[in-house]
Each structure stands twice: as C-alpha cells, then as structure tokens.
C-alpha cells in the first residue's frame, strides 16, 4: 500500500503545478541557504587565517630581534623585549575559534563573539562583538538551514499533503475510497507517509548538500539528517491530524495554516519576547558604568590595598624575596598588578554575565517543548557550534586566557629578572589553544521534537480510528 501511495503522490506531484513549484522553491531556497552558509564559513576561516598571520608576523619580528641580540627595533628604542609586558605584546597571541564542520547551517544565529581574539594583559573579551559588522535591518531575516528546515519544511508538507483525504471528503468519494482501501486509515496514512517521504527526501537532499558544501563528516551529517527527518515526522503527524478530520481542502488549509502560524511564527516570537523581556532593562550598567567605576577604583587604589588584593590572588608572591622590599610595588610591578586586579574583576563580571546567559538560554530550552521549530533551531545551533551558547563558551575561554596572561606578566615582573628568548618561546608555547565548540547537548532538543511526533501521530491515528467506529444505533425491538 505504501509503495502504491508513494507512486501515487509522486504522480500527483508531477500533475499539480502548485506542488511542483513548492518543491522546486524549497530546494532552491535550500541551495541559497547553503551558499549563504558557505560564504559565512569562508569569511570566518579567512578571519582566523588573517589573525594567525598577524600573530606569526609579530612572533617572527621578536625572534628576529632576539637573533640579532637586540631588545628593541631601531626606531622604537623604548621597547625592551626583556620586560614581560613587551614579550606579552610581541607574542601577538590570537585565540581563535575553529569553525565546526556544520558552522554554516545556522548563519542567522545570534552570535556575539569574535572568531579571533588578540590576547594580551589589557584585553577585554567582555566588550568585543562578533567578527562581522552587521546591518541590523538585514540581519533580521537570514536564509539558513534553520529557516529552511524549521519554517519552510512544514509549509512544503502542507502544500503537498493538504488535499490528502480532504479532497475526497469535499468531493464526497471518501466512503468509496475507504471501502476500496478497507479502512480510511488504509488510504490516508500511507498517503501522508508518502508525502512525508517526499518532503523528508527533499530535506535530506538539502542536508546532504550542506554536508558536502561544508565538508562535514558522516557523523555530523547523520545528526543533521536525523534532526531534519524527526522534524518532518512531527509535522507529518500534525498534517495527518488535520486531514483526518478536515471536511474540505479549504478547511484543511485553514487548520494547517493556523497550526503553522502558531507553531512556526507566533510561539517562537512569543518565546523571543519572553526571553528579551527577561533581559534586565538596565543598559548593562554592570558592564558599563559600574565597570568603569571599578576600573578607576583599581587604578586609584593605594599600593598597600593593591598589594593585599594581589597577594590574595597570587599568594606565592608573598613568599618571594621581593615581598620583603620596601615598597614592593614599584611602577612596573604596580601596573602589572593593577592589570591583573582589573582582569580578576572581569572574571567576576563574566561569571555574573554567564549566569544571566544560562538563565536566558533556559527560556529557549523551555520554548523547545512548546514548538518543534524552536527545538530544531536549538539543536541545529548546537550542532553547528554557533549561537549564544557557543559565543558564551568562547568568551569564557577568553576571559580565563586573559587572566592567565595577566598572572604571567605579574609573576615575571615580580622577579625583575630580565627575560630572554627562551622565556618568549615558553610564552608562545603556553598560549591557549584554539577554541572548538563542543556539540554537547545538541541532541537534547530532539526529545521535544520526538514527543511532538509521537503525540501528533498517536492523536491523528486515534482520531482516524474514532471516525471509523460505527455509529451507535438504538437496538431493534426483538418483537
């Protein structure tokens, strides 16, 4: 029966211009999404490559100076490569972020972190933005795979499958067809499965295209295809529930259109509203006005207080011979110490921001249970390694790296021993590794989609079964 239904629906697809146009449009927009994603990933990799080149040039310049036995370039005599602050500068460390194999599938994600960050003792990862300068009026509508699979795939299912059953009912031949098929379920379910098969195949094609375009491995590709097929299953269940009862094509269109409007447009936007309204309307005072005050507080702190705070952060310094000097905080040490204190403040601020981001993300996770569209978006962003969670994880990596670098500068400045080429090489070797987003938790949002699929299919089958139960009649009087 299923094979017959698939053949039937394929023939119907060829005959119905609207269905063919919808399928063609879906594949075309899918191809555009891949092109957009490919462009983004290429730009990302170029930025990383440029950052890497800048780091290499800086290191090469310092190595050249060391090789010549000099501590500064001829035209910049104030530079002294024996000092930790200059070694920090010349290390030119760039902490990069590796584009995952599927980074292009969620090009429309809100990702506020850069892809390469220049690390030094002064760097502030909390005030950096994304690697792209974006026009907000354009950013409000991006074509990516999240849009294609989340928003367009259900529409495709609707266009392909709204006539299933509803047309027979509208034309009054549903009983006849049911008699031939044995049961209404016998002709309705295989036809909806056939429609789901066609839509799922189209989605798989787009996903495979993404895998090929972005060079994803089989595991990543299988995950992407699995998510797309699960989403197809959930929406085909909803389609079956609609066509199980719709008396005409128009009412099926109205019911499915309403479902799509609610699940794909209104609930995600309502979730966005909830998430955005939970963002404190405080103009980020903690990271602007308060941060400025604490920065100034650090720089104006009395030496004794600064030293006390420094020892709290680096207790080993208290045991060093310098601690006995009076005063141990000379100009260089004082500046290095205050930079470390400022970096430590940033760590605290980042901790608060991270907690806020986790709370904000919890809204998205809850919204994933409300609609499969949000769940799919969440799963694909995690699979792609982009989006708010990935940005937050990268920023955490950067904050820790800056603090570690500030600690290194203080520790080296403390001894006052001139540094050499070996120290420089050790600093380069100890530079933080490129950050790779983990796909951790990517499959968790698939559970809500699975639940949606199961509930939709069970509800649709129950409705069909209930529709086929013979009407209860009054028992005939035996007399």
């Amino acid at each position: 029966m299923l094979r017959l239904a698939i053949a039937f629906e394929l023939r119907a697809l060829l005959r119905r211009r609207s269905a063919a146009v919808a399928l063609g449009a879906f594949l075309a927009v899918g191809a555009i999404a891949l092109l957009v994603g490919k462009g983004r990933v290429t730009q990302w990799r170029e930025e990383v490559a440029k950052a890497q080149r800048a780091q290499d040039e800086s290191i090469a310049e310092a190595r050249d100076l060391f090789a010549q036995g000099r501590t500064s370039p001829a035209d910049e005599p104030w530079i002294d490569l024996r000092e930790p602050s200059w070694q920090d500068t010349y290390a030119g460390t760039r902490v990069t972020r590796v584009a995952g194999p599927l980074a292009g599938i969620a090009a429309g994600a809100v990702d506020s972190a850069p892809v390469a960050f220049k690390l030094d003792r002064n760097a502030n990862p909390l005030t950096t933005g994304g690697y792209r300068i974006e026009n907000p009026e354009l950013q409000a509508g991006s074509v990516d795979l999240v849009f294609v699979l989340g928003i367009l795939l259900p529409l495709l299912l609707g266009v392909l499958g709204l006539e299933v059953g509803a047309r027979e009912r509208q034309e009054g031949i549903d009983r006849l067809v049911a008699i031939y098929a044995g049961q209404t379920r016998g002709f309705l379910v295989p036809r909806v499965v056939a429609v789901a098969f066609i839509a799922g195949t189209s989605a798989t094609l787009v996903c495979v295209g993404a895998g090929l375009a972005f060079g994803a491995g089989p595991r990543a590709l299988a995950s992407l295809v699995g998510a797309a097929l699960l989403h197809t299953a959930a929406w085909s269940g909803l389609l079956l529930a609609v066509v199980a009862r719709a008396p005409s094509v128009r009412s099926a269109a109205f019911a499915f259109g309403t479902l799509w409007m609610v699940l794909a447009v209104l609930l995600p936007t309502a979730a966005a509203e909830v998430a955005l309204s939970r963002v404190p309307p405080d103009f980020v005072l903690a990271e602007s006005v308060d941060a400025r005050a604490s920065r100034r507080d650090v720089w104006e702190r009395e030496d004794a207080a600064a030293l006390r705070d420094l020892y709290a952060l680096l207790p080993e310094l208290r045991r060093s011979p310098v601690a006995a000097e009076t005063p141990p905080l000379d100009r260089d040490r004082g500046r290095a110490a205050k930079r470390l204190l400022a970096a430590a403040q940033r760590v605290e601020r980042h901790r608060a921001r991270r907690a806020e981001e986790v709370r904000a993300q919890a809204v998205s996770e809850q919204a994933a249970w409300l609609t499969p569209v949000v769940a799919l978006g969440l799963a694909l962003e995690r699979l792609a390694g982009v989006g708010p969670e990935a940005a937050s994880a990268y920023r955490e990596h950067l904050v820790a790296a800056v603090e570690a670098r500030a600690r290194w500068v203080v520790t080296k400045a403390w001894t006052k021993a001139p540094l050499g080429a070996n120290d420089f090489e050790a600093l380069i070797a100890a530079a933080p590794q490129a950050h790779r987003a983990t796909r951790e938790g990517w499959s968790a949002p698939l559970l809500p989609i699975l639940v949606w699929a199961l509930v939709a299919w069970m509800a649709a089958l129950t409705m069909l079964a209930a529709g086929e139960r013979p009407a209860r009649t009054t028992p005939r009087d035996p007399r």
Partner: protein
C-alpha cells in the same frame, strides 16, 4: 450598495461562530502585544533615565580631576527607545544600547539585547506592527478568500448582477468590510498602546506627531491587502486557487522576499569584517599625530611653531600646557580618520538599506515593515543618527577637556593639575534629539511609492475585474 454589501459581510462574520475564534484570537493577540510592548517600552524609558542619571552621578562624583584623566574616564551615551517603539520595536533589540565615549577614539555601540537573550532571540519580537504586517493580512486572506467565493459558489453574485447591482459596488463592499476589520484591529492596537502608556505614567512619550503618519500608512497598507484579496478572489477561477495564490503571496512577501532582498543587498554591498575595519582605522590613525608620544613628528612641528609664536625656547616656558594642545591635535586628526572610515561604513550600510528599499517596490509587506520602523524611530537610520550625535557630543566634550588641559593654568609636563569639580560638572551629559519625521522619511521614498503603487494597481485590477464581471467575460 457598497455599504450594504459590506454590512452583509460583517453580519455574516457576526453570525458565523466558526469565524469568531480566529477573529477573537487575532484581536486578543494585537491587544496583548500592544499592551505588553508599551509596558516594556515604558520600563525601558525609565531604565534609560536611571542609567543616564547613574552615569552622570558617577561623573560628578569624581570631583576635581586632571582633564585628560577625565577624557579617559569617559562618558556614556545610552540609546533611547524610538518615539513609537511601543507600536513597532523594529531592529532595536539588535542594536547596541551603550556607547562609551572617551578620548582618542570613536565609540561603537555595544551590548545589544539579542546577545543576552538566548537562541530564540533570532526570531522577531511580536508587537502591534508585527501582527498588523503578518497576522492581520493572513486573517483578511482567509476571510476575504471565502467571502466573494461564497457569493459566487452560491450563485448570489450572479443573482445580484442580474438584478442590476454594480459589480464594482459588490467588490468594493467586500473590500470595505475587510478594510474595516483591518482598521478596527489597527485602532485596537493604537488605542491599547496609548492607554497603556498613560497607565504606565509615561504620557510625555506619546509621540503624537508620528502617530497620525503611522495610522495613515498602516490604513493604506490594510486597504491594499483588502483590495488584493478581493481582486485575487474575483480574478481567479476558484476559491481554492485564490486562497493558494494569496497564501503563496503572503509567504513570499513576509518570509522569502525580505530574506532574499537582505541576502542580495549583503552580497552586492559587502561590509568589511570587524577586524579589517579596525585594522584600517589603526593604520590610518597611526599615520597621524599621537598625543601621548612626545617624539611624534607632527607634535614636534606644532611645538616648534608654538615656541616661535611665543618667542620662547622650551615648552616649559610656554604660558600654557602644550600637552593639551598635543592632545587636541591628536584628537582632530583622529576625528578626520573616524569621519572617513565610519563615513564609508555608514555609506555602505545606507546602500544596503537602499537596495532593500528597492526590493520593497515589488513587496508591499517589506515596504510597510520598513516604513513602520522608520515612523517608530526604531530603524537603522535612527540608530546612525544616535551614533552621530553621540560622536558629536564626544568631540565637544574632549575638546573642552583638552582646552582646559592647555589653558587651565597648568604648564607643560604638569600631569597633576586638576580641573575644578565645578568645571567638570558644567560639562553637560549627552542628550539625544530624535530626527524630524520628514528627514527620517526621506530615506523611505521607495517604500512610500511602493505602497501607493500597489494600492492603485490592486484597485485598478479590482475595477477591471468588476467590469469583466458585468460584461460576463469573467465567471461569476
């Protein structure tokens, strides 16, 4: 006759209970969105006042300080909500809210709300305008698609024409009914927003001068939708074909074309990457004077000129603090660099926006979306105006501090001299002036043309359909 048909249609909607649910749901959605967005907007305005006060308080609490120290201490500009943000929040959530203004560099807006709201922030926020641009047209499509088709399928249309009714009056009546419904929903949103604004104790921000334009343009858009729905139903052979065509147009207009236009604009007028832009700024900046570098050649030339002018041999003998002059020299060169690079960036952004505006000529949904956020003051142009004003304020502030540094009584090399607390307190904070409506609309001429063109085209199509119905060349 037209009024009678419209009243009949309204009576049908009233009698048909199946239609109540979508009607009520849409009305409730518009009402809820308007009330919620207005309350949020009032909270934002209050937060804006508090943030500005806190930043100002911190500035004044510094007391007497070195002017250049205060140039680095800096000031903040907080982006206020657009005048009609309670009706259309536009792209506000994607814009940086805070600009840090200090010496030596132009500040960029930071801390957009979307960066703090998680994955779902990729979706648009529902407000009255969003629902008027998406949900209300969809409702009109479903209601209108069924209305004339019902008359045609039941034979009432033919009967009415046979009895001498004018087809354009019948079509006009259906259009009027749909438009009336749209206007009622528009009115509901606007009144709810105004009322909530008063309830929130924020009537000062009613933005009355922009409200009529907002209402008129949305009324025009809804008329266009109503005319389009009726024209499609009249021209197409069946209700199903009309419904499918209208739904396809809706999906195209609201979801696909805006994204396609954005993609094309982005590809045709690409923006530099953040790193490239910063690298270009740095390179241009390094070619000029550095106020903190006493060996700088530009500074040295100016120093020599000043020494000659005052007839002294050393900067210490100058009756002023040359460091302040050097800082201002640095600043003025920097300003030229910022003007060049940020100007080019703004130009490229404007070209992207213009490309999208041209796309709006074929997509009235995009036209109203763009116009609406411009009227609300929540589009990119208003944000750029905010950035320009903040930068102008920064330049004025730093110039005054540098002047005090140079001519405040200290001598060159004296980094301990302080500007008085009174002087620093007298330096005013940043105040944003909303650009006049006419200036804001100047960038949206294409959208205004598009809306008018589409309204006229659809009305003409409807008129032509009416003539053909009367002549019997169109099935009725």
């Amino acid at each position: 006759m037209m009024g009678l048909v419209a009243r009949l249609e309204l009576a049908h909607w009233r009698r048909n209970r199946a239609l109540w649910r979508p009607l009520l749901a849409t009305a409730l959605a518009v009402l809820a969105a308007a009330v919620w967005a207005t309350a949020e907007d009032a909270a934002q305005r209050e937060a804006h006042r508090e943030a500005a006060n806190e930043a100002r308080g911190q500035w004044e609490a510094q007391g007497a300080k070195h002017p250049h120290g205060m140039a680095h201490f800096g000031d903040f500009a907080f982006r206020p909500a657009g005048p009609l943000a309670r009706l259309d929040r536009g792209v506000q959530a994607r814009l940086g809210k805070v600009i840090f203004m200090e010496g030596h560099r132009q500040g960029a807006p930071m801390h957009a709300d979307v960066a703090r709201a998680g994955t779902v922030a990729r979706f648009p926020r529902p407000d009255a305008a969003f629902l008027l641009h998406t949900l209300v047209p969809l409702l009109l499509v479903f209601l209108g698609g069924a209305g004339l088709a019902r008359d045609r399928e039941s034979g009432r249309l033919k009967l009415a024409l046979v009895h001498g009714a004018r087809a354009h009056a019948v079509l006009g009546g259906h259009t009027l009914a749909l438009w009336g419904l749209g206007l009622a929903l528009l009115g509901l949103g606007v009144v709810a927003a105004l009322d909530t604004n008063v309830e929130c104790g924020d009537p000062a921000h009613a933005a009355i001068e922009r409200l009529p334009a907002f209402v008129v343009l949305h009324a025009l858009f809804l008329a266009l939708v109503a005319a389009g729905v009726v024209a499609a139903t009249a021209w197409l052979p069946s209700a199903r074909a009309a419904l499918l065509t209208l739904l396809a147009a809706w999906v195209l207009g609201t979801a696909l074309l805006p994204r396609a236009a954005a993609g094309v604009a982005d590809a045709w007028f690409p923006l530099p990457s953040q790193d490239d832009f910063q690298a270009q700024l740095r390179a241009s900046r390094e070619a000029g004077p550095d106020g903190h570098d006493p060996r700088d050649a530009f500074i040295a030339t100016r120093r020599e000129a000043m020494l000659r002018e005052h007839g002294v041999d050393t900067v210490e003998a100058l009756p002023l603090n040359f460091d302040g002059i050097a800082m201002q020299l640095d600043e003025e060169f920097g300003n030229r660099v910022w003007d060049e690079h940020y100007g080019a960036l703004s130009h490229q952004l404007a070209r992207q926006v213009r490309a999208v505006s041209l796309a709006a000529l074929v997509n009235p949904f995009q036209a109203i979306d763009n116009l609406s956020m411009t009227l609300a003051g929540t589009d990119l142009a208003h944000d750029l105006a905010f950035q320009e004003q903040a930068e102008a304020h920064r330049r004025e502030l730093i110039a005054k501090l540098n002047h005090e540094h140079a001519y405040g009584g200290s001598r060159t090399g004296d980094w301990s001299a302080e500007a008085s607390a009174e002087f620093l307190a007298a330096l005013g904070g940043f105040t944003y002036r909303v650009p006049p409506l006419a200036e804001a609309l100047r960038g949206r001429v294409a959208e205004l043309v598009a809306l008018t063109f589409w309204a006229l085209l659809l009305l003409a199509l409807q008129r032509r359909a009416a003539r053909r119905l009367e002549r019997g060349t169109l099935a009725c």
